[in-house]
Structure formats: structure tokens, C-alpha cells
């Protein structure tokens, strides 16, 4: 019953997120609003981590399988991408490399600059 009780908390927060999204016609998906609401409730200690820890582990341990049916949905578009699949695969991989490289390089660079300015400030 514990997991079910915890699930009801998560579903309730999700529902609030979904209702806010449709009511105010927001561009942020209701699921993300739900996530932000949960984060705020955790940070303000209104919700204790242990109230939802079990269901969190259950859901995040199985998260991969939840996406399989959506992936299978690509079969509907197979005819639409069959002539360009090599190009879009190439673009997807190259842009992933760019995101990785640029993100890491910028974090590293700014950290070094900030460390240097701190050092100079102390001297």
C-alpha cells in the first residue's frame, strides 16, 4: 500500500501541473510544471523525500521501458524518412557532439576565469 500511497502524491502533483498548463495555455508541458512543483515542495520541506522515495525508485528504475511504445510509433513515419535517414542520423550525432563539447568547454573555461579572478582579488 505504501507505494500506492506515494504514487497518489505524485499523480496529484502531476494533475496540478496538467490543469495549470491547460487553464493558462502555457507553453511549458504539464509534466515539467509538475516536476518544478515537486522540486519546490521538496526544497521548502513541505513534502519529505521519504514520502515519495519508493515510488521514485520504482518509476526511475523502469523509465527506459516506458518509452518503447512511443519509439515503435516511428513506424508510422518510416515512409517519410526513408530517403533521408542517413542525413538525419548524421545531423543527430554531430549536433550531440557539439552540445557535449561546447557545454564542457564553457563550464571549464568560466570556472578557470572565476578561479583566476578570485586569486587576483586575494593578492
Amino acid at each position: 500500500m505504501k507505494t500506492l500511497r506515494q504514487l497518489s502524491i505524485v499523480l496529484l502533483i502531476l494533475s496540478v501541473g496538467q490543469i495549470l498548463q491547460t487553464k493558462f495555455n502555457l507553453f511549458i508541458p504539464g509534466t515539467i510544471l509538475g516536476m518544478m512543483i515537486l522540486l519546490i515542495l521538496l526544497l521548502t520541506k513541505i513534502i519529505k523525500l521519504k514520502w515519495i522515495e519508493n515510488i521514485t525508485n520504482v518509476l526511475l528504475d523502469h523509465i527506459s521501458i516506458f518509452f518503447v511504445p512511443a519509439n515503435v510509433g516511428v513506424m508510422v513515419y518510416l515512409s517519410q524518412i526513408k530517403d533521408v535517414w542517413a542525413q538525419i542520423l548524421f545531423i543527430a550525432i554531430v549536433s550531440t557532439v557539439v552540445v557535449m563539447g561546447v557545454t564542457g568547454a564553457v563550464v571549464q573555461l568560466i570556472d578557470r576565469l572565476m578561479a583566476r579572478s578570485r586569486k587576483e582579488g586575494n593578492a
Binding site: 501541473g17 516536476m35 515503435v72 538525419i88 542520423l89 557539439v98 570556472d111 572565476m114
Partner: protein, 231 residues
């Protein structure tokens, strides 16, 4: 028999069996390219085509499994909450890094898609690919992309980042452990984090934090980028 295919039981059953088969192959080969999600997807598509079953019929069961994406997205707040102390003193560089990296990815997609003459709808579906599938699916819907294509691109981003990560760090001369962790989570979500955890605890924790942070940033960044390029 066709009565069985029409029932939700069929979709649920083959999804779970195909996934465990994919997981088994992944554990035997220990190769990121043999990703359980991709193996399961390929198996189910082949089965459906051979049995001449429409996606809509399969999805009567499939949608029951997909339902759990939404609550799983909400609880992504938990790893962020657990690791939020890691942001202390570093949050400026991490936020700027994630934003710049994500934007560079969007520009790359835009330029290359235009160069190859790819349809806008396919390009839009690719924009959210670095975010975790829970986010990319919903984001693709709200920006007018095709959610089912978006999740496939998301899987590609995850697998390629997992495999190529260490080469990318050499190429871009990234040595700092925190920067590596942020890179994995931002570019390759959960699959990048799996690799980051193999490399080290700091890398793993920052990668899992960055999944959620990058997801939230993308929710704002992608619609803004689309208004700039005028689509």
C-alpha cells in the same frame, strides 16, 4: 487470434518481453549500441509489420505503458533535489555552460538541416533530442514536432554521447571532472549519465543533475530559438 491482438494485453505483453530480450542482449554484449530500448523497438516493429498489425492496434496496450512517462517525469525532481548542493559556488558556470552548449546544438541542427534540405517538421522534432525522453516527448508536442520521431532522436543522442563522450573530451580538451559530468547529462541525458557514473562519482552526480537542469532550460530556449529563426 485477431481478437487477442485487438486487446491491450497484446501490446503490453510484447513490449515487456521485447524489452527484457533487449536487456539480455545488452548485458551479454555490454555495448551501448545494443541499447535495450532500440532492440525492443526494432523487434516490435518487425513483428507488427510481419503480422500486418497497425500501430494504433498495438498502442492500445502500448499507451498503458506510455502512461507512466508522465509521473516518471515529475519524480525527476528527486535526483535534482538530492544533488542540488553540487551547484553551490559553481552554478553560474554550469548554467551558462548548459545554455551555451544547448544553443550550439540547436544552431548545428538548424544549419545542417537547411544544408541537407530536411523538412522543417523533422528538424523541429530533432530540437529537443538532448533532453531526457520524458521532456523531449512533451516538448516536441508543444513546439509542433512529431513526438514519435523526437523520442527516436533522443535515443540516438543518448547512445552516441555514451559511446563518443571520451573522444569528445579529448577533442575539446575537457579535463575537469565537473565539466565532464555536466556535458554528459546535457547532451545525452540518462544514457550519458550511465557512462558518467562508470567514469566517477562526481561525473555521475553532475550528469544526473544536468539532465533536469538542461531539460528545464530547453523548455524555454527552444521556443525562443524557433522565434529567432522564424518558424
Amino acid at each position: 487470434m485477431s481478437q487477442y491482438f485487438e486487446s491491450p494485453l497484446f501490446g503490453v505483453t510484447i513490449t515487456i518481453i521485447a524489452f527484457f530480450f533487449g536487456k539480455y542482449i545488452n548485458q551479454k554484449t555490454k555495448k551501448a549500441i545494443f541499447n535495450p530500448i532500440l532492440i525492443a523497438t526494432a523487434l516490435i516493429i518487425m513483428l507488427l509489420i510481419n503480422l500486418n498489425i497497425d500501430y494504433e492496434i498495438y498502442n492500445k496496450g502500448g499507451s498503458i505503458i506510455s502512461f507512466f512517462i508522465a509521473p516518471a517525469t515529475v519524480v525527476l525532481a528527486v535526483p535534482l533535489y538530492k544533488n542540488i548542493h553540487l551547484l553551490k559556488g559553481r552554478w553560474i558556470s554550469i548554467l551558462i555552460g548548459i545554455t551555451t552548449g544547448s544553443l550550439a546544438g540547436l544552431v548545428t541542427i538548424f544549419v545542417l538541416c537547411r544544408a541537407f534540405g530536411i523538412d522543417d517538421i523533422i528538424m523541429i522534432s530533432m530540437f529537443p533530442k538532448s533532453t531526457t525522453a520524458a521532456i523531449s516527448l512533451d516538448l516536441a508536442k508543444s513546439i509542433g514536432g512529431l513526438p514519435n520521431l523526437a523520442v527516436i532522436f533522443t535515443a540516438i543522442a543518448g547512445i552516441s554521447g555514451n559511446i563518443l563522450g571520451e573522444y569528445v573530451f579529448k577533442l575539446f580538451r575537457i579535463k575537469d571532472r565537473i565539466s565532464k559530468g555536466v556535458s554528459f547529462g546535457t547532451a545525452s541525458h540518462v544514457l550519458g549519465t550511465a557512462k558518467a557514473m562508470e567514469i566517477g562519482e562526481v561525473e555521475g552526480a553532475l550528469s544526473s543533475l544536468s539532465i533536469t537542469v538542461a531539460g528545464i532550460i530547453s523548455v524555454f530556449l527552444i521556443p525562443w530559438f524557433m522565434s529567432i529563426i522564424g518558424i
